[in-house]
Symmetry: C2
Subunit: 423 residues, 2 copies
């Protein structure tokens, strides 16, 4: 570990439109993640309107809590856009129109065959003494200025422009200055089991790495473990790798993927590597599992298709489920789900097929088959077929989402040939 | 309109966990929407850590910009939870442990067969002089206090608890005080056309209602018009109704629904009312349209099912598309989409069937059939079948989502028997 003190950052989102009930400030999440990676901790976030007095007051407050301020928004050409003027006022520096930049802007507009409106000239008003941060994706440049021990980075609010300026001009400089202290994060992703079951499994490992924060995050059908180490690059990398290995030693094949890879992509990779094809039969999930699979670009290489057999008629005519099975066992049963899986495999002539049938609610539950009960089936070209049952707690959306993810996880486990003792 | 000045509110979310890159503060969006409905405007939002000095400073800053402060979070039993103490410090009031409340808490724990931990007693530390807001869903009560002209409402961070206290104790009181000034909002929802096309249509109406804010919001496949009127209840209601009528007079059947009803529900309502059934055949959307339809509880009453015919084999075997059509015209063509729609209608024996085939990208585009091209087909039991083509701009996710929504909109227009001149 390192003794270099963490830089504390504050993020200001400027824009009255973000104070309504409909817009979320997403820039600050991205900024927080990127800053955290280089060891900078965000201690304050605020959203304020386009009012110079309010902006100046917020800069005062924020600068008492953080040594790096990052503002987004309010650099546009309209009268509403007052961030540059407010920052200049806070710094005690004048705004000076840059004639050369006006000419460059005009040339850029003309290259697109558009006459530049007079209001745009305002975007060439530079804060004296501030470093100008070029904006390759838009008109308004950013600024980087210093006031005492505090620094401020002023960025446009358009996410793509903000990100580009950060990546090109701001983050590399911050890394250089950090004296080599960085953060390393690893994400381990697990499906098919609940948060508490994961917690129980990893508890002994967790205890061994107490000095580094490990966060457990749950979403419908998925649990993520975030491992986080701060220090010099070698130390951070070695440590996070050792942590990962330790967690993997107990979680084993339960981990479907790491940082970048989601479950549909992991399933797709396994199918592609094995040269196998997949088909699906869905009842309660109504196409959601197929939609997840086909979210992945190139999924047509291995996904042949699916049947959404919402009514019993479709289960019979399109999947070949026997009417007697449906009448004697019900549509939500081990027998039905196995026939659905076999039927889908045959109709699509796929190597593997998955089937889902359950009660998503809010209606349709009975004491024997309550809302949340879902049967999963998998059929293979070699004739093997397995069924599993699971109860999901939550509303219709949650049950459908959890069941869709769970189906993909069972297909993944089938593909890697892993028999879990706990799912 | 009314001359009562708008109350300005500031929202403070307290909690270090919300300063990481993974958590979004969602309470503030809900609060903003509910406050706006009763004519209170949010002018500032902030997220700060669990640090008393920081909280006090933020209350200072916020109270200079707003006369109503609402804080969420930091009322739990652990050492981290310091909001009540910080607010008390800002007010200059002591925290006093309420013995009666301790006894009540203990009784509640015991009723659940759990012994109350000693740390929980902290949640009985009341701010002297503040009104205590009962929390029917949790342990920590809220507070309502006054400092000069400024009022502060202190709420727990758990969304369900925060909402319940607002609905039960805070909002009714704020309405009473507003001197009868309220806000009325109407949402008109439109699918099947772009934002600029909607803007062009409504421009003359828009101009007639300049004094009341109208916001246009676009999401993939959908455009929303938000009409907003503030004033006395009768005035606000009459005016927003007149505005709505005026907008409806130009938008006509393009409006699929209002405030609460989304497009899948609107389609479901039309099918149910007409006693008709629906089936789907999807290629590029991969089950997303079926998933949207089946998100609606009770959709099994009218949705028979769908085929996700991702490969050409499935288009032939499960939908009966002729191999010659696929080879001569291609899977993304007017002829193929019509055969898909007819095939789905016959296989499921539904009254109506919709079909979607297109190129979602990023691969698979050609100069004649670029990424974003999608064909839609609708077949009816009476033998009628129509096809429409559309180009969507955006990435794979955007094209798939837009195409799924567009398909539902075309089905809706078919059901209401409306021939649009522009979509």
């Amino acid at each position: 570990m390192s003794d270099v003190p963490e830089t504390r950052a504050a993020i200001l989102a400027v824009g009255s439109e973000m104070l309504g009930p409909l817009r979320q400030d997403t820039n600050s999440l991205w900024l927080t993640a990127r800053l955290e990676e280089i060891g900078i901790r965000v201690v304050r976030k605020s959203i304020i309107g386009d009012d110079p007095a309010v902006i100046v007051r917020e800069l005062e407050t924020a600068s008492s809590e953080a040594s790096l301020l990052i503002s987004t928004g309010g650099l546009g050409p309209t009268a509403d856009d007052v961030t540059a003027a407010a920052v200049a006022r806070w710094l005690g520096a004048p705004l000076i129109r840059n004639a050369e930049f006006v000419a460059r802007m005009r040339a850029r507009f003309e290259a697109r065959g558009v006459r530049m409106a007079a209001v745009n000239e305002k975007q060439a008003d530079f804060i004296e003494g501030a470093r100008v941060l070029e904006n390759p994706r838009g008109t308004a440049p950013g600024f980087w200025a210093k006031k005492g021990e505090c620094e401020i980075v002023v960025l446009p609010g358009v996410p793509s422009e903000m990100r580009e300026i950060m990546e090109q001009s701001v983050l590399p400089e911050l890394v250089r200055r950090s004296g080599g202290v960085v953060s390393r994060r690893r994400i381990l992703r697990i499906a098919g089991m609940g948060e508490s079951a994961v917690e129980e499994l990893v508890e002994p490992v967790y205890a061994r790495w107490k000095q580094h924060p490990v966060t457990i995050l749950a979403s419908p059908g998925e649990v993520q473990l975030h491992l986080y180490v701060r220090g010099e690059p070698d130390f951070a990398e070695t440590t996070v790798r050792a942590m990962e290995e330790d967690f993997r030693s107990v979680l084993k094949e339960r981990i479907f993927g790491g940082d970048g890879e989601d479950l549909p992509s992991a399933v797709g990779r396994l199918l592609r590597d094995a040269g196998k094809t997949l088909a699906l039969a869905e009842s309660c999930t109504g196409g959601m599992a197929a939609s997840l699979i086909t979210d992945v670009p190139g999924s047509s290489d291995y996904f042949l298709g699916g049947v959404v057999s919402y009514g019993n008629g479709a289960k019979e005519s399109l999947l070949g489920v026997a009417p007697e099975t449906l009448s004697s066992r019900g549509a939500v049963s081990e027998e039905s789900v196995l026939e659905m899986a076999r039927g889908a495999r045959e109709r699509f002539d796929s190597d593997v097929a998955g089937a889902i049938t359950g009660i998503a609610g809010p209606g349709g539950g009975t004491p024997e088959k309550p809302v949340g009960l879902v049967w999963f089936g998998i059929a293979d070209r070699d004739g093997a077929a397995t069924a599993k049952r699971r109860y999901f707690v939550g509303d219709r959306t949650h049950v459908r989402r959890s069941a869709s993810v769970h189906a993909l996880e069972l297909i993944r486990r089938h593909l890697v040939g892993w028999k879990s003792p706990d799912a």
